[in-house]
Each structure stands twice: as structure tokens, then as C-alpha cells.
Symmetry: C2
Subunit: 444 residues, 2 copies
């Protein structure tokens, strides 16, 4: 699977660019040469635009104008995020031929940081699914095993980074859609607190839970990208609920003196392949076990996501149902029948779960659990021993969308020869704790 | 129909109490003697509790301790509002035998103002209907014509005041339930800005729209009661949306110099008995006509009320459906099928309508329109020329619940020999403008 960026770090690339050993144009050429059409990671490539951006980046660096660690770095962008002048296809026939007029805010921030946008990566149709195999563009393939799913919905971003085509990709994460492909593909995926990276210009799936996130080879690279996408720390009023946008890193992260990298609790996954659980649990041998009502939070996720997703798509379902992929249409039709009173109760239950988890996060700095309860299924398979894949793949990730908490998936070895991910969760605004904990894992 | 309080004002009663011509005990005796069981206005009378309260009020006044204009005044309370030690029946078999442990906040405020609670008045079952004829206690009768509905849901409060049993009654108003019985019964009914009278201890119908209000013979008497229920003006942060509680009278009411009682616009009622329209329009000969999408706001009302009402009653519908009156059960079952996405859209539409009406209230101080599009239907009749009564009766009142605006219904003569009401609406916090405009009408 080795692509141009396999085994490289953003820090190493940045050093190479500044020492003159590398050039933005050279990195871009390496990226474009690494694109493997068989993996189906990219749905749009923009060699002309990227070459112009790489040229400018090279000129700026040569002139001593340094935009920081992403300057001159090739980046891929999920195909539900607008990039001006390129198609935003959403993995759907509904948006065939649709070209974005303006950059999404997160893309503007990437460009301000000097990144070179290589192209758009495949997504599960409308990001409405965590398997990544349902798209008008066909399934993206997992670089570790091309017969298997990469996970979704940021499937192409996961595959592009895992195959070394780019060192960094943008994704979105409503129920796990950054962390799931990261874990299935053996890379790192990170979503910060709700609202910490602005979602303007990103096509909505479920506005209460939609997060923008990043995928890269390692947690350290996610941190570099996250800092570029959030800028200096904001200050703001006290946060009161999960629907509030959190200022990035606004809350100083308290760390227990006796545990220099943070007090860690193991959250027991209730329904999981026992081999996956053992592999991830082994990374946290000293962490006490705690329980959270993960199925209860998943039910909240389901009610709210379905209501909000149908709100987005009601006219398309009514007027052109045949343009959806059949599994997406079936999910939407069911979602449209979610009763309003269940939505109202889900919002109240969210408050209750938020208080429960806040209590846990008073006692611990980090909650650790597997990112996924299974390894990557074969393309075409819809269910396994834990039941249908669609709900199973979000079961351990969606709680942190419901609660708007920062969550990071890092590679945790392999099981059955396939990658698994360890997931770290913390308080809002305490993103730095996650990166510190991941660093400890990486050096352990 | 003359009861003890017919033709009397709260100001006159207060003077009589202070001159020694009247006593709280004498007023209470007059109230109790005026109760006409055939009208079915009261579901519970509390002569012992009321007599004790009247005695205390008399002693306080005699001792020179004056609690203000409600001191010693008999008041009736709608049967969805808790009064400690009395049944709160909700007009429903579900609450047979249920006794309130504590006073609702608005009842506490009444007692602090020295009022004497006479008893509980009949309500449409769970306040879920504006006709007032559906209740385990049987229909309340309109004092003007006992074969006709009093309107609801504060049916008993409307009938008790209209028949002179009490000079003041508490009601609740989610889609018009104070103003509708006021108009059908020929008295005044007032609901202030959303949240201005606290709703604690009131059984919910639809929490986004539930208001506590007052019914009395005239607007002037509503003003006296309102001041007693809100106390000194609060100050607070700027209001941002209709779901926010408004501090009472916090916003100084700007009045156009050229129109000393406020600039008035006539809001065209689109579906209405033309005789009712003519009668009310005649009170505002100089007001220019304006249009608001009243049916659109009613659709918002319906979606949100139904979702929130079913949320309140889901367990009762599932476990003991037979205890509901059949029309209530039928409404609830339909309400439970309101799709969540429609609720979400209704909330957004509310924002749009709020902005539209705010624009109108930049140009006018008062919006005037009929309270009801029809006169009181016969008991047992479910539809008329405008269609089913249940939606018709809220068509002109519910928009001001959706938007949380203060609204006052005042008597506007008779049509077909039955009372009609004129409705005045203004900006949040500008309640005093309504009373000034009503005074102008009363003296015109």
C-alpha cells in the first residue's frame, strides 16, 4: 500500500520544505502519482488548481513568507465540503454536476494555512452511513484489504491517507464518520468539541451533531492540522449545553498530579467482538472500568439524526426518490416517520446523559474505549455477528457526537489481520489532553 | 344572568372594602350564593378554605395591613392550576382523586396579593381544545345562552366571571384558551408576554406556548390583576426569541406622538363570519389593513402543540387510553404521529413569522383583529360554515401564542345576539399599550 506519504509525518514534511529538500510542487506530484484509481478514494482531482496553489506556496516559502506547518502540504477534502470551482457531489446522483461557488470555512482556513487542495474524496451518500459502501461513485476500498469497506462516511479521506496519497484529509463526523474510517484503515481521526471547527459550507447531515474533523497518519499530525484549523484560543461565556459551539482549547486542561498524562477510565463496550476489545483494552492496563448507557445514547443519536436528516432531504424524497441509492432512500423514509415527541424526549435524555458523563469527566480526564466493535466488513456484507453493520459501526462513536465531546481515534494494532482503533474522549475544550494521552500511547 | 359581581369593578370593590361598606366575608358569601350549578362553571368549591382566607383578609385590612387591590377579593382558579389541598382534575378521568400538594406559583402570588381562592373552574380536558365542551365534568354552559359553548379551555373561568360569580379568574392560554372563553362569554381575557406570569405548578399542554392569563369583566380589571401577578418590573438581558420569558413591562412602550393611544393596524382575518368581522372592524375605523399569514402560523402552532402535547401524554395514551374523553384521545393519537421533521420546520418557520410580525410592530403599536371568527356554537355541534370548530376557534388567537406576544380580548358588542370580542396585540413587554388602547375603546 505504500504511497508517497506513507511513513512520513507533517513535521518531517515541514522540515523538508524549509531545508529545500522538498518543494510543494514535488509533494503534489508525489500525491498525484500515488492516487490509485482502484481504491476509488478520490471522486475529483484538481491537478491544475493544485499545481497553481503549490507554485504559490513554493514562491511564498522561498520569499520567507511562512504560513506554518501546513504550508505547501497536499490535502484532500471530503466531497460534502465545498471547494470553490470543484463539484460537491455528496456521493449522490442528486448533486450530479453541482459545482461549489465558494469555499467552505474550513477550506478557507486550510488555504490560509498554505495547504494545497488536491481534490475531493468519496463519501457515503450524503454522509448518511458509517460503512462507506453506498455512493453513486461506487464503494471506496480499504487499502488494507480491497475487498473490505474503508468505513465511512469519510471513506475516501480515510483511504487516501491510509494509502499514502496525502498526509492529511478533511472529513466530517456526525456519528463517527471521521473516526470510523480512521480505525478501519489504520490511521488517526479526530473531531474536536462541537463547533470548534466551523461547519459553514459543509452539507448538513444532522445539524445538532455535525462536526468537521481531520484524518492523518498519527494523532500528532491531527494535532498539527487541528491547530491550523482553529487558530488562537478564543475566550467566551461558560458553555451550557452540548448544542453550544465550544471555543477551541478555551478551557485549561486540568491534569491529575499523580497521573501526568491524565486519569484514564475504560468505558466498557457492551456489544463487541471480544478480540477487538482485548486488543484495545491491553493499551490501558491500569484504567478502571466504568459503564455508560451507550445503547441509550445511541437511541438519542438515532432519533435526533433521523429527524434532522429527513428535514434536510424531505423535498428530494418527495420529488426524486429514485435518485437516491436504495439503502439511503430506505433509511430516509424510515427517518421521516420519527415522531416529534420522540425527538423531544431524545433532547431531554441528552441532557441527562450529558450530566452523567460530566460526572465521570469530573473524576477522569480521558475516557478510553475501542473506536469500533468490529473490524472492517467485506464490501457487500450488510450484517455480522453483532447485527446490521450500519448501527453497529456508530455504536461506540456516536455518543461523543450526541454530547459534543472531543474524540480521537488512534491506531491500536491489528486483529484478524485488520486495523483496529483506540478511541480517547475528554471534556469540551480540553482537546490537548487527548493528544497528550495519544502521545503516551505512541511511546509506550 | 346577574350574579353578585355583575356590573362591579375591582376598583369599586377595593373602595368598598376600604370604606367599610364591604367585607371580604361578605364578598365571599356573595360569590358562593351566585354559584349556579346548572352553568357547571366550578368543579370544586372550597367554602371552608375561602372563609378562612376571607377572615384573615378582613383582619389584615382592619389592622391597616393592605395588600393592594386584590386584598379580600374572591378569585376562581382553572382546574389545571394547582391549589394546595384541592383536587386538580384537569377535566380528565386520569386525575380522578388527585389532590395538589402545593400552590402553583401564580396562586402563591394571588394569595400574597390577598385574594380569596373560591374554588376550581372547569376546563376542556387537559386544556387541549378551545371549545370547552369536552371534559369528564361535562360541558360548561355559556351564561349568555346555556345551550351554547362558553369556549375553552378556561371554560369555567369564563362562565364564572361572565355570570358574576367572581370578579376575577385565573386561566391558561396555549392557543387562545383565556381569550376564547372571554370573547364567547362577553368579558375580557388577557395573556401577557410568554413567561411574564410564571407557569410553575400549571399542568403543561404545550410548553413552548403555555401562558397563564386572567379573565375579568373589563380590560381595566385584567390590568389590576396582571400587576398583582407580576410585581415590580424586572430588568434582564435583551430578548432574542419567542421561547424566551419576557420580563413584564420591562420595555418602555413607545407611542407615536401623533396617535396618543398607539398606532393601530387592522389585521385582516381571512376566514370569518362577515358579521363578526364587520362588528369588530367598526371599532377601528381609521386603522389601515395589514395581512399576516395567519393560516401559516396556525400550522406552526398545530405541529408544535401536537408534538409537545403528545410528549406530555404518551404514557397515558399507551397505558389507559380509555380514560380519555373520545375526542381528546383521537386528537392525541393524531398528534403522536406528527413527524419530527415537521416539528423542526415549524420551529424555523416560527422564526420567520416572528421577524415578519416584528417588522409590522416597528410600524404599529397595536395589531387589532377579532378574537374569534364565529360566535359561540351550540353545545354538541362540532363544525360550522368555517369547518370544524376546534381549529376555527384558535385561528385568530394562536398566532400570538406562537410568537409569545401580549394579547387582550375585550368585549365588542354582540352579533346574532351573542357576544363578540376584539383582540389587541402588541410587542413583548409593552403590555401597558394594550390596556391604554382598550381604555380608548371603552370610552369611545
Amino acid at each position: 500500500m505504500g504511497g508517497f506519504f506513507t511513513g512520513r509525518t507533517l513535521a518531517g514534511i515541514a522540515r523538508g520544505l524549509r531545508s529545500g529538500d522538498e518543494s510543494p510542487a514535488g509533494l503534489l506530484a508525489g500525491a498525484l502519482e500515488s492516487v490509485d484509481p482502484d481504491l476509488n478514494a478520490f471522486v475529483t482531482l484538481d491537478p491544475e488548481g493544485a499545481e497553481a496553489a503549490a507554485r504559490r506556496a513554493g514562491e511564498e516559502l522561498a520569499a520567507g513568507f511562512d504560513r506554518g506547518p501546513l504550508h505547501g502540504v497536499p490535502v484532500a477534502v471530503k466531497d460534502i465540503i465545498d471547494v470553490a470551482g470543484l463539484p460537491t457531489g455528496m456521493g449522490s446522483a442528486h448533486f450530479d454536476g453541482h459545482v461549489a461557488e465558494a469555499d467552505a470555512l474550513c477550506v478557507t482556513m486550510l488555504r490560509d494555512a498554505g495547504a494545497v487542495i488536491v481534490g475531493k474524496t468519496g463519501t457515503h451518500e450524503f454522509a448518511y452511513g458509517g460503512t462507506g459502501d453506498v455512493s453513486v461513485n461506487g464503494p471506496v476500498r480499504n487499502p488494507h484489504d480491497r475487498e473490505r469497506m474503508p468505513g465511512g462516511s469519510s471513506s475516501g479521506s480515510g483511504a487516501a491517507v491510509a494509502a499514502g496519497m496525502v498526509p492529511l484529509a478533511l472529513g466530517t463526523d456526525t456519528g463517527g464518520s471521521v473516526r470510523i474510517p480512521a480505525a478501519f484503515c489504520g490511521i488517526a481521526g479526530f473531531k474536536p468539541s462541537y463547533g470548534a471547527i466551523p461547519a459553514g459550507g459543509v452539507f448538513p447531515l444532522a445539524v445538532s451533531f455535525d462536526h468537521v474533523g481531520v484524518l492523518a497518519a498519527s494523532a500528532a499530525d491531527c494535532r498539527v492540522a487541528y491547530r491550523a484549523l482553529t487558530g488562537p484560543a478564543l475566550t467566551g461565556p461558560a458553555l451550557t449545553g452540548p448544542a453550544e459551539a465550544a471555543p477551541a482549547e478555551a478551557v485549561p486542561a486540568p491534569v491529575d498530579e499523580g497521573a501526568p498524562h491524565g486519569r484514564v477510565a475504560w468505558i466498557e463496550p457492551l456489544e463487541i467482538d471480544p478480540d477487538v476489545e482485548r486488543a484495545v483494552r491491553a493499551l490501558f492496563p491500569d484504567a478502571p472500568s466504568e459503564r455508560i448507557d451507550l445503547p441509550g445514547i445511541r437511541a438519542v443519536f438515532r432519533a435526533v439524526q433521523d429527524a434532522e436528516a429527513y428535514d434536510v432531504h424531505a423535498e428530494r424524497v418527495a420529488e426524486a426518490p429514485g435518485l437516491f441509492q436504495p439503502p439511503t432512500l430506505e433509511r430516509l423514509e424510515r427517518a421521516g416517520r420519527t415522531p416529534a415527541w420522540r425527538y423531544l424526549r431524545a433532547l431531554r435524555e441528552r441532557e441527562r446523559y450529558a450530566a452523567e458523563v460530566a460526572g465521570l469527566l469530573d473524576r477522569y480526564d480521558i475516557l478510553a474505549l475501542p473506536t469500533l466493535p468490529i473490524t472492517a466488513p467485506r464490501i457487500g456484507e450488510t450484517a455480522g455477528p453483532l447485527g446490521p453493520h450500519v448501527p453497529a459501526v456508530v455504536s461506540l462513536t456516536c455518543p461523543w457526537n450526541v454530547l459534543g465531546l472531543p474524540a480521537l481515534s488512534v491506531p491500536a494494532g491489528t486483529v484478524h489481520g485488520l486495523p483496529v482503533g483506540a478511541q480517547l474522549v475528554t471534556r469540551r475544550g480540553a482537546e490537548s489532553l487527548l493528544f497528550a494521552a495519544a502521545e503516551r500511547l505512541a511511546t509506550a
